[in-house]
C-alpha cells in the first residue's frame, strides 16, 4: 500500500501536506511514496453525501429484523430486493429495485448519543472530544470531508471542489463539521442555502445586484487594474497576485456560464424534475447530480435543517414526542421522500454513465433503538446502524457486517465511523493516513480508521 497514492496527489503537494514542520521528511518511505508502482487511482471521482439528519431507524429501513420479538420488530414487513438474499423494509419497493447496485454496511457503530456530537462524527469521521449536546463549533474540531478533499485533491476544472446545500444543520447550535475549520476558510464549501425547489432558484453569488451590469463590472475591473499598475512592485507580490486570481475567478464565474449552468435546474426537463419530486430535498438531489456532472468533487446534501421527527418536515428524529408517532411519519414523509430520491438518483447516474465514478453515501448520525418506546417510536441508537454506499468503487448487491438478532449491536464485522470514512477517502484515492496540520501545527491524519477493503469492487 502506498503512503500517498501517486496518481491522486502530485508529489509536491504531498510534501507540503507532509509538513513544512519537522515531521516525516527523513522517512525514506515518505520520499519514495510517489514512486510506488502499485498505487491505484481512486474509483470514485466524486462523492454525493446524502446526510440524513436526525438519525433514520435502521430497523425500519435497511436492516429489518422480521424475526425479532414484538416491541422490537418493525411494524412494517420486509420485501426481497433485486439483490438475492438482501431484504429491506417493504415501504421501499422502488429502492428495493436498486439494491443490486448498492453496498449496505449494517454494523456502523459509535458511542455519541446526542445529535451535534454524533453528526460531527458522521460529517468528519472524527470522534468529538465529548458527547456534549451542544458541542461548540470551533477551529479545534475537524473539517468536513469535502474541505479535506479541497485541501488534498481539489477540482482543477474551474468548478468548486465542495458544494453543500440546501441548509445549515443546526440542533440548537450550528452542528460542527460543516466547514473547513482549521484547514482555513479557503477550503470552506460553497454553501447554498437558497431552495432548489424555488421557482427562482439561483446561486445568489452569481446574481448581480440590480444596479450592476456586466459592462460596469468590466469598467471597474479595468480601472482596478490601472490602479494596481501604479504600485508595480506591490502588484507583483504574492499577496497581490493571490488576490488578483480570486478577482479573476469571481468575474470569470460571473461572466461565463459554466457554474451558473450547473446550478440552473431549469435546464432539466419537467419529467426529470418531477421524478426527483418537487421538494427541497428532491431538487437538491437533482442539483447534486448536475454539479457532479459538471465536475464538482464533493457534494453534501442535507435532508433537513433540523432534527425534526414530530411533523412531516425536518429530519428523522422520531421519538414520538409531543404526541407524534414514528410510524405514520415514516409512512407519510420520510420513506416516500427516500423512495422518490435515492433510487431516482442511482438510476439517473447510471443512465448518464456517471454511476461508476460517483460514490453515493446515505447515512445519518445514528440509528434508532431496537426497542420501540412508550410512544410507539424509537430513540437514539449509535451502537449499531446502517450506512448505504453506492457507485464509485464499491461492490454491488453486497452487505458488509451483520447486526445481532435485534439490530442492537454488531454481530460480525463491526465498522467504526472512522473506518467507514477511511473507506470513503480510500475510494477517492486519498490515503486516509495523509496528515494535515491544525492551527497549532500538529500533524493529524485525515482519518484514524482502517479501510474496509471488503467493500471495494
Amino acid at each position: 500500500m502506498s503512503w500517498i497514492e501517486s496518481n491522486s496527489i502530485p508529489r509536491r503537494t504531498a510534501l507540503q501536506i507532509g509538513g513544512l514542520g519537522m515531521f516525516g521528511l527523513t522517512l525514506p518511505r515518505f520520499l519514495k511514496a510517489a514512486d510506488q508502482p502499485n498505487a491505484k487511482p481512486g474509483r470514485a471521482k466524486s462523492v454525493i453525501f446524502l446526510y440524513q439528519f436526525g438519525g433514520p431507524s435502521h430497523l425500519d429501513t435497511f436492516d429489518p429484523k422480521p424475526n425479532a420479538p414484538d416491541g422490537v420488530r418493525s411494524h412494517y414487513g420486509v420485501i426481497d430486493t433485486s439483490a438475492p438474499g438482501i431484504q429491506i423494509c417493504d415501504q421501499l419497493p422502488k429502492t428495493s429495485l436498486v439494491m443490486n447496485d448498492v453496498t449496505l454496511v449494517r454494523t456502523v457503530h459509535h458511542t455519541m448519543k446526542n445529535h451535534n456530537p454524533a453528526s460531527y462524527y458522521a460529517l468528519t469521521g472524527h470522534a468529538p472530544p465529548l458527547d456534549d449536546i451542544r458541542l461548540r463549533d470551533s477551529q479545534e474540531l475537524f473539517p468536513a470531508y469535502g474541505s479535506v478533499v479541497d485541501r488534498l485533491a481539489p477540482a482543477t476544472n474551474g468548478m468548486p471542489t465542495f458544494v453543500a446545500f440546501p441548509h445549515v444543520l443546526r440542533d440548537g447550535e450550528i452542528t460542527p463539521g460543516q466547514h473547513a475549520s482549521f484547514l482555513g476558510k479557503a477550503h470552506d464549501p460553497l454553501l447554498v442555502t437558497a431552495d432548489p425547489n424555488d421557482r427562482r432558484f439561483s446561486l445568489p453569488e452569481l446574481s448581480l445586484p440590480a444596479n450592476l451590469t456586466a459592462e460596469r463590472l468590466q469598467d471597474r475591473r479595468e480601472i482596478q487594474k490601472l490602479v494596481n499598475r501604479q504600485a508595480k512592485q506591490l502588484d507583483q507580490s504574492a499577496a497581490a497576485r493571490g488576490l488578483d486570481a480570486y478577482y479573476e475567478r469571481t468575474l470569470g464565474m460571473l461572466n461565463t456560464s459554466k457554474v451558473r449552468d450547473a446550478f440552473n435546474l431549469e435546464a432539466e426537463s419537467a419529467t426529470t424534475r418531477d421524478k426527483y419530486g418537487r421538494t427541497t430535498y428532491g431538487q437538491s438531489c437533482l442539483l447534486a447530480r448536475r454539479l457532479i456532472e459538471s465536475g464538482v468533487k464533493f457534494v453534501n446534501v442535507y435532508f433537513a435543517n433540523n432534527i425534526g421527527g414530530r411533523v412531516k418536515d425536518g429530519g428523522w428524529d422520531t421519538h414520538g414526542f409531543d404526541n407524534s408517532r414514528m410510524y405514520p411519519l415514516l409512512s407519510d414523509y420520510h420513506l416516500p421522500m427516500t423512495e422518490q430520491t435515492l433510487p431516482t438518483l442511482i438510476n439517473d447516474l447510471k443512465e448518464r454513465g456517471l454511476f461508476d465514478d460517483t460514490l453515493i453515501v446515505w447515512m445519518g448520525e445514528f440509528g434508532r433503538t431496537p426497542r420501540i418506546n412508550d410512544n410507539v417510536s424509537r430513540d437514539h441508537w449509535p451502537q449499531c446502524y446502517t450506512a448505504l454506499l453506492a457507485g464509485g468503487g464499491v461492490k454491488r448487491g453486497f452487505v458488509y457486517g451483520t447486526s445481532d438478532k435485534q439490530g442492537a449491536y454488531p454481530d460480525k464485522d463491526p465498522v467504526q465511523l472512522d473506518d467507514l470514512i477511511a473507506t470513503v477517502f480510500d475510494l477517492m484515492g486519498i490515503d486516509p493516513q495523509t496528515e494535515v496540520h491544525d492551527k497549532l501545527n500538529r500533524p493529524l491524519p485525515i482519518s484514524g480508521g482502517r479501510v474496509v477493503t471488503a467493500v471495494r469492487a
Binding site: 468548486p160 475591473r221 482596478q224 506591490l234 499577496a239 492551527k439 500538529r442
Partner: protein
C-alpha cells in the same frame, strides 16, 4: 532505543502512533522507555525477542525485510543498528533504564553556523562551501561520554538541505533552517544559514535610529542582505495609522503630513497617534480576540464589562504586567469585577492552564496532554502539574437565563468566580490530582497560599524572562506583522527566535532593564519616552509600558522600511529586511470603507455609527436578539474570529472566493457605494471639477494623489459617462478593490 528512533520506528506515522501499527506500539519518539521496554520484551508473548536465537527475533526480521514489513526496510543485516539490537537481545535484553547510566546531556556542535558560497561560478551541483558535519556527544550520569553522531536522529525544519544518516549536511538552496538532533529523550537544534556571497555586496542600509535597527541590521549584514530603503511619507502615514488605530488617515490628515516639512514629523505623528482614543479601541480589540470575549459564555453584560475594562486599561496606560496580573488573578462577580470574566470563559482547569500558557508564556501545551511534547521540553507531568494550579477555580452561578436549556456553554446571568477549598484536575494516567507547580518550576506550590495570586506574582514579573519576551514579541508582531519568534505563542528550542539578541533587547526595553552598551542613537526618541525620560529602570516608573515599546519600534528604520524588495532581500521573510505585505483585517477594511464613503455602519444590537473595531464581542452570537446586518456578515466573512480559542491563529486573513463575491457583487460595499448622501454624492453636489473630486477620493482611500495616468483615464471615463454618479461609483469601487487599499505595505 536509539536504534528504533534512528530507524524511524517510533514516529507518529509508524509504531509511535497512538494506536501503534500492526499491533506493535511504542512511545512517540521514544519518550517512555519503560513502557517501550515492556512492549519489546513482554507484549505479544515475547515473540518480538528471541534470546536463544537472536536472529529469529521479529524485531530484527521485520525491519530487515526478512519478513514482510509495511514500513519497508529500515536497516540491513550488516548494519550497526542490527548489531546493537542483536547484541542486546543476545544478552537477554537487559533493561538499562534501571540502575544503569542515564543520559545527562546531549552536546551538539556547531550550535549555529553561517555557510557562505559564492554563486554564479559553481554552476553544477551544490557549492562545496554549503557542507557541514554535525557532531553529537552524549554525556551520561556516570560521568562518561560517547560520540553518538551516528546514532542520533537528524530532522530538518525547512528542507533546503539534505542531512545524511550520520549528520552530514549539504545545502541545496540559500536560506535558513534548523536541524533538530535527537538522541534518546534529548533534542538540540542546530541553526544553519546557507548564504550566497555576493562579491559586489555593499551594505546600503539606512543609519540606525535605535537599538532595534542595530540588532536587525547586524543580522542582515551577516546574511549579506540589504534592507529596502525607508518608505515614503504617504506609505508611512497610511501604514502607521492603520497599524495603530485600525483606520486609514483622513484625506486632510494625510495631505497635511505629507506636506509637512519638519524633519521629526514621523516621531510627532507616532506620539499623537498613540494618544488617540481609537488606539485604545484597536488594542482592546486585539486582546478581546485572545481573551475569548464573546457573548455566549460571558453574556452580553459580561462582554461589555470586560471589553470596556480592557479599553480603559489601554486608555489609562495601565502597565501590561499589571493588566496580566489582574487578569490571571481575577475573581469575584463577573458583573462587578470585569477581569473575572477571563476564567468565566475557561470552564475547566486544563482550558485555563493551556490558555495562560499560550497567551503569556508562549507555549502550546496541547501536545503534552497525551504524550510528552515531541518538539519541546514539556512532559505530561508538567502538563498536569500546571493544570493543578487552576484546579480550585470555581463558579457560583447566581442566575442563568439561558434560552437553550440543553446548552451547557450558554450562560446568561451573573456568576461569582471564586477559589474553592479544593478542586480536582485529575491526571487521567493516575486518576490523581498532581501537586500544583508553575510551569517549568521544580517545586510544588505552598498549599496555604492563594495559587492565583501566587501565579500573578510569578508570571507577570520582570524577572520572568519568558513572560517578558512573550509580551514584547506580541507587541512586535502586532505592528511589524511577524513575531521575532513566530508564531508568537510557540516558543520552544525547536522554533527559535530569528534574531535572539533583538528579542532580548526589545524584551529588556519592555521590562525597563537598562541596556548599558546599547544607548539609543537618537536622543530625540529617548527623550520622549516616559520610561527613559525618568532615567530609571524600576518597575514603578514606566516598565511594561505598551506605548513606550511601540514608540521605540515605530521610530526604528526597521519598521519604516518600504515593502518593495531588492535583489538581496527578496526571499527574506524572517529578518525584517522589508515591510511585510498582508491583507488588512475585516475590521480595518470595513471601517476604512465606511470612513472613505462617510456612511456610518450598522451592527446588530448597536446604535448606528459604532465602528467595527469598537464592537465588544462577536456579532454572530447575538443573532437571536436581532437580525445580523450586512456589516456583521462582512466581518465574519473576512475572518473576524468567533473567539473560542486563545490564539491569534483563529483570526483569518486568507482570501476566499466568497469574499471577492462580496466585494464584487451585493453586500455592504455595494450598499455603501450606492447609499444616498454618501461622500460621492456630496462631492458631486459640491460642484467641484471632476478632477478635484477624483483627487480627493484618492487621498481619502489610498492616501496619495492620483498619478497623471490615473487622473487622465478616470476623468475621461467620468466625462463620457451617461450617469456620472454611477461612473463615480465605478471609480470608487476600483480604488476600494485595489491592492493598495486591501493590502498593508
Amino acid at each position: 532505543m536509539s536504534v528504533l528512533s534512528k530507524s524511524g520506528c517510533n514516529l507518529g506515522t509508524c509504531h509511535g502512533n497512538a494506536r501503534g501499527k500492526g499491533g506493535f506500539q511504542i512511545s512517540l519518539r521514544g519518550q517512555d522507555p519503560d513502557a517501550d521496554y515492556i512492549a519489546l520484551t513482554k507484549d505479544f508473548f515475547g515473540r518480538r525477542i528471541n534470546s536463544s536465537n537472536p536472529d529469529q527475533s521479529l524485531i530484527l526480521l521485520k525491519p530487515t525485510m526478512q519478513l514482510a514489513h509495511e514500513g519497508g526496510k529500515r536497516f540491513a543485516i550488516d548494519s550497526p543498528e542490527y548489531r546493537i539490537l542483536r547484541e542486546w537481545i543476545a544478552r537477554e535484553t537487559p533493561n538499562d533504564s534501571t540502575g544503569y547510566r542515564h543520559l545527562a546531556e546531549l552536546q551538539v556542535t556547531p550550535a549555529e553556523v553561517y555557510l557562505s558560497a559564492r554563486l554564479g561560478e559553481a554552476t553544477s551541483g551544490q557549492p562545496s562551501e554549503w557542507q557541514l558535519q554535525i557532531r553529537a556527544t552524549a554525556k551520561f550520569t556516570d560521568g562518561s561520554s560517547r560520540d553518538v553522531t551516528s546514532l542520533a536522529v537528524y530532522e530538518i525544519a525547512n528542507p533546503i538541505a539534505d542531512v545524511s544518516h550520520d549528520g552530514a549536511v549539504v545545502g541545496r538552496s540559500s536560506g535558513e533552517t534548523t536541524v533538530l538532533v535527537r538522541y534518546l529523550n534529548r533534542q538540540v537544534p542546530v541553526r544553519i544559514a546557507f548564504l550566497t556571497t555576493r562579491p559586489d555586496f555593499v551594505w546600503s542600509g539606512p543609519t540606525p535610529a535605535n537599538f532595534v535597527d542595530e540588532q536587525v541590521f547586524a543580522k542582515l549584514k551577516k546574511l549579506e542582505i540589504n534592507p529596502s530603503p525607508v518608505c515614503d511619507d504617504a506609505t508611512f502615514v497610511r501604514r502607521v495609522t492603520l497599524d495603530l488605530l485600525g483606520l486609514p488617515p483622513t484625506a486632510d490628515d494625510a495631505r497635511r503630513f505629507v506636506q509637512d516639512a519638519s524633519p521629526d514629523k514621523r516621531r510627532v505623528l507616532i506620539d499623537s497617534l498613540l494618544e488617540r482614543p481609537e488606539f485604545s479601541d484597536w488594542w482592546a480589540l486585539k486582546w478581546a480576540d485572545l481573551l475569548r470575549i464573546e457573548e455566549k459564555t460571558l453574556d452580553q453584560k459580561g462582554v461589555e464589562n470586560f471589553h470596556s475594562w480592557l479599553r480603559n486599561a489601554f486608555a489609562n496606560h495601565k502597565p501590561l504586567d499589571q493588566l496580566v496580573k489582574e487578569i490571571v488573578a481575577g475573581r469575584g462577580s463577573t458583573y462587578e469585577v470585569p477581569p473575572a470574566n477571563f476564567y468565566r470563559a475557561l470552564r475547566s482547569p486544563y482550558e485555563r492552564s493551556e490558555a495562560v500558557g499560550q497567551l503569556f508564556l508562549g507555549v502550546r501545551l496541547q501536545c503534552s496532554k497525551c504524550h510528552n511534547h515531541p518538539f519541546d521540553q514539556w512532559t505530561q507531568d508538567d502538563y498536569y502539574s500546571w493544570g493543578s494550579v487552576f484546579a480550585r477555580v470555581d463558579y457560583k452561578i447566581v442566575e442563568n437565563h439561558r434560552r437553550d436549556t440543553n446548552d451547557k456553554h450558554e450562560f446568561d446571568g451573573e456568576q461569582i468566580v471564586f477559589l474553592n477549598e479544593s478542586g480536582e484536575a485529575k491526571d487521567p494516567r493516575t486518576k490523581q490530582t498532581r501537586p500544583a507547580k508553575f510551569l517549568g518550576e521544580p517545586n510544588a506550590l505552598d498549599r496555604t497560599r492563594d495559587p492565583l495570586d501566587g501565579l500573578a506574582e510569578w508570571l507577570a514579573d520582570s524577572r520572568n524572562d519568558r513572560f517578558v519576551q512573550v509580551m514584547a514579541n506580541r507587541i512586535w508582531q502586532q505592528v511589524v506583522g511577524r513575531g521575532i519568534v513566530d508564531p508568537v505563542d510557540d516558543f520552544r528550542v525547536t522554533n527559535p527566535a530569528s534574531n535572539p539578541s533583538l528579542l532580548k533587547a526589545v524584551a529588556d526595553e519592555l521590562a525597563g532593564t537598562p541596556r548599558s552598551e546599547q544607548a539609543s542613537l537618537d536622543p530625540a526618541i529617548v527623550a520622549t519616552s516616559p520610561a527613559t525620560a525618568a532615567g530609571t529602570s524600576s518597575r514603578e516608573e514606566g516598565a511594561f509600558d505598551l506605548r513606550h515599546l511601540l514608540r521605540v519600534i515605530l521610530n526604528s528604520k526597521t519598521y519604516q522600511l518600504a515593502s518593495e524588495p531588492n535583489a538581496t532581500n527578496r526571499d527574506d521573510e524572517a529578518n525584517f529586511s522589508h515591510a511585510l505585505i498582508r491583507r488588512y483585517t475585516a475590521e480595518q477594511l470595513l471601517d476604512a470603507t465606511s470612513q472613505v464613503l462617510e456612511i456610518p455602519l450598522e451592527f446588530s444590537g448597536f446604535p448606528k455609527g459604532r465602528r467595527a473595531a469598537q464592537l465588544p464581542g462577536v456579532a454572530a452570537n447575538r443573532f437571536r436578539k436581532s437580525p445580523l446586518t450586512d456589516a456583521d456578515r462582512f466581518l465574519s466573512l473576512f475572518g473576524k474570529p468567533p473567539r473560542l480559542q486563545s490564539c491569534d491563529c483563529e483570526r483569518s486573513d486568507e482570501t476566499t472566493l466568497s469574499q471577492t463575491f462580496q466585494l464584487v457583487g451585493s453586500g455592504v460595499i455595494n450598499r455603501l457605494l450606492t447609499t444616498s448622501g454618501n461622500r460621492l454624492e456630496k462631492l458631486l453636489a459640491s460642484g467641484q471639477p471632476v478632477g478635484d473630486i477624483v483627487t480627493e477620493l484618492y487621498w481619502a482611500s489610498l492616501t496619495r494623489p492620483p498619478t497623471e495616468e490615473e487622473l487622465g483615464v478616470t476623468t475621461q471615463f467620468l466625462a463620457k459617462a451617461a450617469n456620472l454618479r454611477a461612473a463615480l461609483e465605478d471609480v470608487m469601487w476600483s480604488m476600494i478593490n485595489s491592492n493598495e487599499f486591501l493590502l498593508r505595505r
